[in-house]
Symmetry: C2
Subunit: 387 residues, 2 copies
């Protein structure tokens, strides 16, 4: 069965695109933010709570699910959608980023990566082919190819070698994907036959390597393309420059996915450079650490000044947390170590991210994206949490 992906750009405005991405489990309105559900669960939230936030698509991590509970087990249980009780689109990353983060516990070769499980130290490996098989078993709507994400900073030679290997792996991964789709290996069940596969552009902050990666990845040919290897420590301006440079070379009839980014400002700036899809742990991780994003910038709920503050975290927010609770109560829950603090803060932060994307989509359709972008920057002055 062939991959299922249809992408329609319904409006363009000031470099930004408003689109509809049809995947096997439903339509994603773009630009879209994908909440991160590492282990088949968005941290601190139940699936019923995720429903109330209504994201069109979520992300899950191949590395974590391969280790526990195991992709073969998930396949036996009917695939990741059935396992989670979530019937809308899911994108799975390739596990590459996680494996390379293991630093001294992994060894890279042309074949793939050998590594020790962070759970029990067991020696395991991932290859461009096995990562395709794992994601086929998970049955996500979108599977990412296995790529190598170099650290920042790195020399041009280092990044070039890594980028070229990613290109060779992309070819192997695509061959495996097409083979499975053609029924080559009956041993790999495919809970989502209409799965799409995205290629990943690497090349660090070197434009000529980005160019080489774009050309090579498009030559292999995928349903769509992602920009990887950014948001790894480089300055924001450099990131925006590379995003603009790379995005412009990607096919305009396919969605463009900027991986692992970013702050609310990063989202607005990257949309302005033609990006359609995002994921990031920032809203969920910071929520658990007590940082709330608001239309006026971030707010640290730990701060003593909120101890008797009866206003909601963000007076302009319609999320379940802001509709019902005061900063005073949220601070109390956080200081007391109540688990519900994590849930309420996560609900708010994800709502803020998803609502920002809704506002972006509306502005593009109305042709007011430039003024939206200016107003957003004026209202939102990003400053690190006070505590």
């Amino acid at each position: 069965m062939s991959a299922h992906l249809r992408f329609t750009v319904v409006a363009e405005d000031a470099g930004a695109r408003r689109g509809q991405l049809e995947l096997a489990h439903g339509v994603v309105e773009t630009p879209a933010f994908m909440p991160v559900g590492t282990r088949g669960a968005i941290k601190a939230l139940t699936i019923d709570q995720i429903d109330t936030l209504a994201p069109d698509i979520i992300l899950a991590n191949t590395y974590h699910l391969h280790l526990r509970p195991g992709d073969e087990r998930i396949a036996r249980l009917g695939g990741l959608h059935a396992f989670m009780g979530w019937q809308r689109p899911i994108l799975t990353d390739s596990g590459g980023y996680q494996v390379f983060s293991l630093a001294d516990r992994r060894r890279i070769s042309e074949e793939g990566v050998r590594f020790q499980s962070h759970l029990d130290g067991q020696s395991l490996s991932l290859t461009p082919e096995s990562v395709v098989d794992i994601q086929a078993r998970l049955g996500s709507d979108v599977a990412m190819i296995f790529d190598e994400c170099p650290a920042w900073p790195a020399t041009e030679d280092e990044v070039a070698a890594s980028t070229d290997r990613t290109l060779r792996w992309a070819r192997r991964g695509r061959d495996r994907f097409l083979g499975l789709a053609a029924g080559a290996d009956a041993g790999v069940p495919r809970p989502t036959p209409g799965q799409a596969q995205f290629g990943i552009i690497q090349g660090g902050t070197y434009k000529r390597l980005r160019d080489r990666s774009v050309a090579g990845t498009i030559a292999v040919g995928f349903e769509a393309y992602a920009i990887g290897g950014l948001s790894v420590g480089e300055p924001a301006d450099l990131m925006y420059d590379i995003v603009a440079h790379t995005s412009a070379q990607l096919p305009s009839d396919r969605p463009r996915y900027l991986m692992g980014t970013g702050t609310p400002v990063d989202l607005v700036e990257s949309v302005a450079r033609g990006i359609d899809l995002f994921d990031c742990v920032l809203p969920t991780r910071n929520a658990r650490n007590g940082q709330l994003f608001t239309r006026r910038g971030p707010l640290s709920i730990k701060n003593a000044r909120y101890a008797e503050d009866l206003s909601p975290p963000d007076p302009d927010c319609a999320c379940p947390t802001c509709r019902r609770h005061s900063r005073a109560y949220l601070r109390h829950l956080f200081m007391s170590g109540e688990m519900s603090a994590g849930a309420l803060n996560t609900l708010h932060n994800l709502h803020f991210y998803l609502d920002t994307m809704r506002a972006i989509r509306k502005a593009i359709v109305f042709g007011t994206f430039s003024s939206f972008r200016r107003a957003f920057h004026e209202a939102y002055s990003f400053q690190p949490s006070a505590s």
Copy 2:
């Protein structure tokens, strides 16, 4: 303003009572189970999630809220209902049980108890009067008197001395409560003017001490009465015997509250002995430890046998967890340390407790409580968790 409490017994059957308890913030259908919200939050759940469970009343802990965020702060924020965003009835315990649990960090005198805060070691005290003031500031619907709960086992002389002191404290607490209600101390705001005060019967497992405590507490006179000092380690049969003995002597036109109990079987057995109100940490605490209560007995979700079990925790349950998730998924969340495991397990266990109370209430009205009780015991064989 006078205390607000009206209790109507609408049906009786085989020793059990079906009643309606009107409190300042609403009606409680009895027999009722009160989920425990120690720090102004039911552990692992948001208030929106508690709404979906629809308990008529919840319990909060005076000791914890006095220490953090402080009852004076809560009063300034409009009382505990406004602080939590929960507008239905709340019962607050007196803090006695927690203070006595501090063991070597507290010193009891006739005046009250001096203790060191479990948070920062600060030296603090609670007296029968201060506990009334604290609960007035919290503005709960029901305030409990400050009692001393002796350990089990204890000699009759030890329990007698403690029971008599509790009686003297009951008189002081009631005087303070009536004084505040009459406007004696303008320095104590009363967010819930219609607050009711319950006396507590002590006496351990000694029937003649229970008799003395009942007579003395009724002589002081409260809106209603609770049975304290049970579920502290004594055998279940002995507890049931003391409950029956004590309950029979309490006024039939007031609700009877058995404090800190218990297992599902304890609830059914105590209702059969005339009890109307319960609270216990068992469903919430065990949920976080992976034990799920079901109509067929408890189930430890950690058990490897559930790793590929697609059935819900309890096939006969309509809770949000059982409607959507399999044992396999819940086991995965628990083994992965996901916070949502705590939320989903707590939703299930509280639903089970509240649903058991609904079934009990229905059986009493239909005059089928005896057959319900038999069927419950047959289906539900309590056995400790396998792991």
